[in-house]
């Protein structure tokens, strides 16, 4: 599972060699450590709005009689430590300190009305990109082009998202670019934006890049403790015995949830280890059995009196070209990866025990978005997950909850370590960060989506793929 290439080109001879030959030079990504700051400063807040763009304030207060712009509001959020007592160095002008190594750049482009508006922020952004530190962050904030009332507005907003995608590809040294896309009911001061800023600006989003994430409303509440947003809640994680599932279980437990770790009986030995490590409970269960949801619900309600979060992580691959596909390969993948989830969700949603801000996250895959040779069955099932998530989101919203999907790209797991060397090496490098992600990257994204602060983020698919070059 170790990525020897990344360590080789990071030091000494390997570094020189890679530079001389123009080889990819991935850097080890910075990841979350307890008590580390959320935001790496200094933070530059740029705006497409003329007033703020010309401003030179470091306090976030806008000059004159203009009402505070969205950029001002974002700067204020940062100055207030994003809801905690963290001290964040916020600047509004790239010129205030020549030669600064920026940790983070935020481009607030919510008020664009014409593609010509972009230049005011994008060109200053270009000026500072070379000064962006290792594992730096660029975050764009715009509004949903589909909700624009005029073609010029839609064009401008779409252009912001596309700029983000190209910037993400241009960035090097572990830096990422992503976009928050606000729906009509969402404001930059809403709790979900705060939640998203804390995720996208922090090392928790290490392997998420090139992603637009839609925030549809301001729904959500600020947790008492940002380090334990899931305190008192009960989460079920399927396929939790190893790899990504085990990491999801551990991450939700770290965030305060009591975790029911589910896996097939045959995986019980490692499942027990996972459960004991995170002080959760192990539930050996075949999720394709007709009473699976009932068993899960009974376990959660009997033991903990509630069920708040379900993570559908269990999945299988039975790869074969469609030309060589047999019944068993096709059907088993469909049953485990999507049919079982549909059946379980129906059951969960019918239960009053799952009516208090219920949250579901399902694991999709970049194969489900872009397709993958030899994975028609797998890709179909994962595409199904995306369809299911979109259609289920309003059903969960009725109870103040959400349903979202996370689509992992190349993640370093025991499963991917079995891919033949050359194929694996290519798959690993074919993304903007030129390396594979870690299971924890998927887990952190899920933890962000199920946070009580993220209720306004519903029905989205977040790719955790380092901006894989394959697929949208």
């Amino acid at each position: 599972m170790t990525d020897r290439y990344t360590s080789f080109v990071h030091h000494g001879f390997g570094k020189t060699l890679a530079q001389k030959l123009g080889l990819p030079q991935p850097v080890p990504l910075r990841r979350h450590t307890p008590s580390a700051p959320v935001v790496t400063g200094p933070v530059l807040v740029l705006s497409t709005a003329p007033a703020a763009a010309s401003g030179d304030s470091t306090t976030g207060a806008s000059a004159g009689e203009h009402p505070p712009s969205d950029a001002d509001a974002v700067a204020t959020l940062l100055l207030n430590g994003l809801g905690s007592d963290e001290l964040i160095d916020v600047r509004r002008s790239p010129h205030t300190a020549e030669g600064t190594r920026w940790g983070t750049v935020i481009v607030v482009a919510t008020e664009v009305t014409h593609p010509n508006d972009l230049a005011a922020a994008m060109l200053p952004l270009g000026q500072v990109l070379r000064g962006l530190g290792q594992c730096g962050r660029v975050l764009f904030i715009t509004r949903d082009p589909e909700e624009a009332d005029r073609p010029a507005v839609a064009a401008a907003r779409q252009a912001v998202i596309s700029t983000m995608r190209s910037v993400a590809k241009e960035l090097r040294r572990g830096a990422t670019a992503n976009a928050l896309v606000l729906g009509a009911d969402a404001t930059v001061t809403g709790t979900p934006v705060l939640s998203a800023l804390r995720f996208f600006l922090s090392p928790k989003s290490a392997f998420v890049s090139g992603q637009p994430v839609t925030i549809s409303s301001d729904a959500g509440h600020v947790p008492e403790n940002w380090d334990r947003p899931l305190d008192g809640q009960v989460a079920v994680v399927t396929g939790a015995a190893q790899g990504i599932g085990a990491e999801i279980a551990a991450t939700l437990a770290r965030d305060g949830a009591r975790v029911v770790a589910v896996d097939i009986p045959a995986a019980g030995e490692s499942l027990a280890r996972v459960a004991n490590r995170i002080k959760g409970t192990a539930l050996q269960l075949d999720i394709t059995s007709p009473d699976a949801a009932e068993v899960i619900l009974t376990h959660a309600v009997d033991r903990y009196g509630r069920l708040d979060i379900v993570i559908h992580n269990a999945g299988i691959t039975r790869d074969k070209l469609l030309a060589n596909m047999d019944d068993d390969r096709w059907n088993s993948v469909m049953t485990v990866n999507i049919a079982s989830q549909l059946a379980m969700n129906d059951h969960f949603l019918a239960s009053e025990h799952f009516h208090r801000n219920p949250r579901i996250v399902s694991l999709a895959s970049t194969s489900g978005i872009a397709g993958n040779r030899g994975q028609t069955n797998y890709g179909a099932s994962k595409g199904g997950v995306i369809g299911m998530v979109t259609a289920s989101a309003p059903l969960l919203a009725e109870h103040g909850g959400t349903m979202n999907a996370v689509a992992p790209g190349f993640i370093e797991t025991t499963m991917t370590s079995k891919i033949p060397f050359a194929t694996r090496e290519v798959a690993r490098r074919l993304n903007s960060l030129q390396q594979g992600g870690h299971p924890v990257d998927v887990a952190e994204t899920i933890a962000f989506l199920v946070s009580p602060a993220s209720v306004g983020i519903n029905g989205v698919v977040v790719r955790v793929c380092g901006q894989n070059l394959v697929g949208a």
Partner: protein
Amino acid sequence: MPNPAHRPLTDAVIIGGNRIPFARAGSRYLGASNQDMFTAALDGLVARYGLQGEELGEVVAGAVLKHSRDFNLVRESVLGSALSPTTPAFDLQQACATGIEAFITVANKIQLGQIDSAIAGGVDTVSDAPIAVSDTLRSALLAASYAKTLGQRAKALTRIRPKDLAPANPRTDEPRTGLSMGEHQAITTAKWAISREDQDLIAYNSHHNLANAYNTGFFDDLITPFKGLHRDQNLREDTSLEKLATLKPVFGKTLSTPATMTAGNSTALTDGASTVLVANNEWARERNFTPLARFVDAQTAAVDYVHGREGLLMAPVHAVPRLLERNGLSLQDFDFYEIHEAFAATVLTTLAAWEDENYCRNELGLPHALGAIDRSALNVNGSSLAAGHPFAATGGRILASTAKLLHARAQETGRPARALISVCAAGGVGAVAILESA
């Protein structure tokens, strides 16, 4: 002076259990020690019930084949598990009845209010059995170690002869008769004229019932895989009466009657470990655990097999009527019967004895026969013939499975359900117990 209050008895209830699959001797668990296996069984239980860091009242278990270094096997296993290191523990041993005796012990302590919670269990491996040195070598080495001078030490060691260096293998033969358990049972089998066909049918049912229980998910919350094994290795899902009929007899070949006991209707040597979680209702309620079954009562008995008065494995036959009488029950007042299948013939001789008017009057001192039982209620999810029988681990296997069965039956019918458990053991000992749905 204050007068210590008399405390009423408190119910002891089974909350659940966990075991590792049983492996055939010298196979999948080769290299795993008793401590490894029992710790794994404990950790699986802890994971199932979220008991990480909990201080339980006591953990009581044992092993029949045990290394001298494992003098504190259970406590050492607790220290290596996810339980709180302040959980007390001790070892106990009553041959094949070790597991059930461990349960009776903790259930009694819970009933008396001495502890609120406990784990009972057992473990055995014949793949990691202790191999000792010969008695002559051992006494020479001991003499040498106590010697005060070099001369004395040399003298002690010169007593050793090459033949003394051969290891003394562990034996499970009865020390007082030199007969193996199978040969003992063969005598009883012949005495009761138990047929080969009847024995094979018991074996067939055992495999069939166990396989069915696996396939319906019955063991999903009773077993945690170990070393990649996730089903009992001894289980032959595809066995048939025809196949069983082809096996050659292995015991009773020197008797005057035809030998009937084969490798198919006798239990194979196996490795494994089991645990059962027991507590009082209050402890269970505080943790939101659903009690499955209540401990009603238990009885042990022993028989004089040395002088041939009774068969070696017949002690439960004597224990059951005493238990029934004390509780005002008849042999037919049970929904389930769990009679440990040391051999298929053990189950059949036990049942035959209870059905025999003369035997019940003369040997058990009863006014009349205990009578027949409903065979469809016997070992409904398989027993030792299919699952295997790692001596001390069998009690925990039976107790946890039976408790789950009772709970399900009571849920289904809305009426309390009751089970009789019977385990025979080496030394002519037997332990029997009654559980009732909680």
